[in-house]
Subunit: 195 residues, 2 copies
Amino acid sequence: MARPPSFNRALAVDDALKLFWRRGYVATSLPELLDAMGVARSSFYATFSSKRELFSECLELFGSRTLTILDKPGGSCENLSVIRTFFNETISEVPEHRISRGCMMVNTVLELADVDLELQILAQTKLDKIQERFQCLILDAQLAGEITGAHCPAELADALMTLNLGIRVQCRKQVERTQLVKSVDTSLRLLGIAA
Amino acid sequence: MARPPSFNRALAVDDALKLFWRRGYVATSLPELLDAMGVARSSFYATFSSKRELFSECLELFGSRTLTILDKPGGSCENLSVIRTFFNETISEVPEHRISRGCMMVNTVLELADVDLELQILAQTKLDKIQERFQCLILDAQLAGEITGAHCPAELADALMTLNLGIRVQCRKQVERTQLVKSVDTSLRLLGIAA
DNA sequence: GAAATTCTGAACCAATCGGTTCAAAATTAC
DNA sequence: GTAATTTTGAACCGATTGGTTCAGAATTTC
């Protein structure tokens, strides 16, 4: 016989995520958050205990979503296409305003490096998981003969992550989507992972 | 017959630069700045008109210093070594704490993308100048036969900048210097610019 | 010493920061 | 209607934000 919850927690987190993603942690003020989430100040603290805690939850969510893109669809074939899809899904098949937000983990690693170590490490750990995933995919690709074994998987995965980080910075600059696609193509070709 | 200026303006700017470089624009508070610069609040506003103006000056300074590294020393030979030196001087031959600050322009592009467009563009413009410099060096290297003409200079310069951006992000993560050197080596080798 | 100039500290400003509290309004089931 | 529960808005907290002002201490030259 109680009044049912009016605002959807998951949706509110998603709105917060988008704002944090764009503006970073420090520059995002509480009023901005409340406005974007459509939640009253008091409800905010009742539901999420603090701005910092909410940011942490958003970061976690963003990280797991990103990792999902790298999940292998079905069969064990075409490991490299998973990597190509990773870039395609975040650059080609996405609205412009989303590209310009870059990657929330990359943004956080840079913003909070000397500001909030705990949150920075959280972002960093997520990036490391992605790199591990890169390495597995490369190893499988080598075993499947999709790619030569000239370079060790760890080395290639590291180069691939460096490329990824670079691209995410490029995203935050005002560059055209076509230019980003070209940058990715060029780099993947040099890495021997081109289509 | 006047009291001579006690604090060195250039040195004070340098202290501010280091702090902004580490902590970014928003998270750096005025008291922190004054403390780092050793300047009283009133002197601060008399000398530099605002925190934002000072940041702009620091960014300008950082950018021009970085470009200096890419100046050709003397003869027209060994264009590629200039590029290699660019990474060496900022990764191998520099104290650890300095590496972990990454690149102030990269940090700024990410932090202020949706916070202060004017300052972001200032940082972005500096990065573009570096990429132009990359392109010139690559073109000269091709004409001098140091490198094959397989790829067009603009494309290579873009890939090189993407690598640079990626490396600067890696710097802000807690990674060992040796790992960074390896990452640079691997990528430069893949780009065909290795030593 | 006097005059000139620079720097400093402290007080002050309005605005905002993240965070807390709580009574009252709103919405449900009964 | 009543009871139960959630959401809300507004008031409030102390601290901090960037920025301003100015009297006076400090240091020089003459």
